[in-house]
Amino acid sequence: MSLATELRKDFPILSNYPDMVYFDSTATSLKPRVVIDAISHYYTHLGANIHRGIYDLSEAATEAFEETRAVVADFINANVNEVLFTRGTTESINLLIHTIGEQLVQEGDEVATTLMEHHANFVPWQQLALRKKAAFKVVTVDENADLDMSSLKAPLQKKTKLFACTYVSNVSGIVNPIADIIKTVRAINPHTIIVIDAAQAVPHISIDVAAIDCDFLAFSAHKMCGPTGVGVLYGKKSHLQTMQPFMFGGDMIAQVAIEQSTFQEPPYRFEAGTPHISGIIAFKESIKYLNNITYKAIKKHEEMLMQVLISELRKQCGASLKIIGQHSVNPRVALAAMYAEGSHPHDLADILNADHICVRAGHHCAMPLHKHFNIPASTRASLYFYNTEDEVQRFAAAFSKALRMFI
């Protein structure tokens, strides 16, 4: 029996829509019952706001909330005070442009990122560079959609203050050799701040921030079976201590006088206002759930699915179908963004929808990458451990049928 057969029972939405083929987990994963129950449990059994409530329920809520911080720290091999909660990866990265980016980058400096980024790890740095009159450098990709390591060295200079790079591409699924990339950047300038977007890595790969030696790392709970509206920003303690807060109010305050205010120590200094308490409490259940399955088992199952997917698409759709990053020299996670001349992804996704197959069509918030390959849009099928070989077969047959309507 495959891994998915048993695990599918944990996902109520799959029972509610037995005909559905959900191939859009890169946009957001489905949620297991343990996570949904934990959200509900907060509202039915805890209910109170966290921090400084001098009564049992508030203390219990605070404890459940802070426990997630410890679980997250353990999950990525960080210290507990290096874990900040945000609303998602996008907010985590935007927090950085308003704090360390604001403090560090000056006119004439350089900020660098790559062509492979999701807009959320591209536009904030571009906007920071524009505002600061700094140069904005972009590491390009080669014909296989792999980061061009030879071009990595050219844009990265001594004056490069910040380098932002994705761990896994949300379009090609390519897993960047992130530790090697970080080593290369450090060799050029040990002081360059390195920010890793791990939004697409956390669902599939076990993360170790100490081993890869990044300065910051951002990800979202909802792509790894957790709730929407919960994000994490990991930051090295030495950096967090020098960063000034950019949002004020609530728990981030230490003392307030009419003339001046003082703020809490990190990570609390960066968590203004009442957070998504139920979501953060429930997030630890998704981490425990994934750890329990093990990333090794997830990888094995996804590799099997991908093998079937690629060979069926090749067989049924022929050579006119191109898959972005198919010839990558790096490993890839279980997703395929495809295009074929003469067919438009929106039409294909619409037709697949009639067969209850959910895929994404468009540029997947990665316009620079699509423009680089000169395609307006692609159709993306993204899989996770709860998908089955049968679903892959159903998708491949429906997709090739849809394609034949146009080409």
Partner: protein, 126 residues
């Protein structure tokens, strides 16, 4: 949505768009694009006595966007400008004779927007 929207007529106009290309003479031109899905339609109109006497379009997009543009050019030829400026989403749906979800409706409206933009540009010059 259902497969109904991919009727023969729409696939035919997508694969063999009518009035595709450029006018023999320079006309009134307007371009509209929908950056979210990459639909990009340019309309070229030859207008005489407040009537569209000739029309072409070019660009790229999904089947709904291209077929809508093709059907619209067929309809617009020899129509009065006032008829065309009062067209709305219902008239486009009537031309296509399909129902569309809100997301796909945008694809059908790109060409109408381009046509009406061209007429507005022309109006400003007379």
């Amino acid at each position: 949505m259902s497969l109904d929207i991919y009727k023969e007529i729409i696939l035919d106009h997508y694969k063999h768009p009518r009035n595709f290309g450029h006018l023999p003479r320079e006309g009134t031109v307007a371009q509209v694009n929908n950056p979210l899905c990459g639909d990009d339609i340019t309309m070229e109109l030859e207008i005489t006595n407040n009537k569209v006497v000739d029309i072409r379009f070019h660009g790229q997009g999904c089947a709904i966007a291209i077929a809508s543009a093709s059907l619209l050019t067929e309809f617009a030829k020899n129509q009065k400008l006032t008829t065309l400026t009062t067209m709305n989403k219902d008239s486009m749906l009537e031309l296509l004779s399909v129902e569309l979800s809100p997301n796909r409706l945008k694809c059908a409206l790109v060409s109408l927007e381009a046509l009406q933009k061209a007429i507005k540009t022309h109006g400003l010059h007379t």
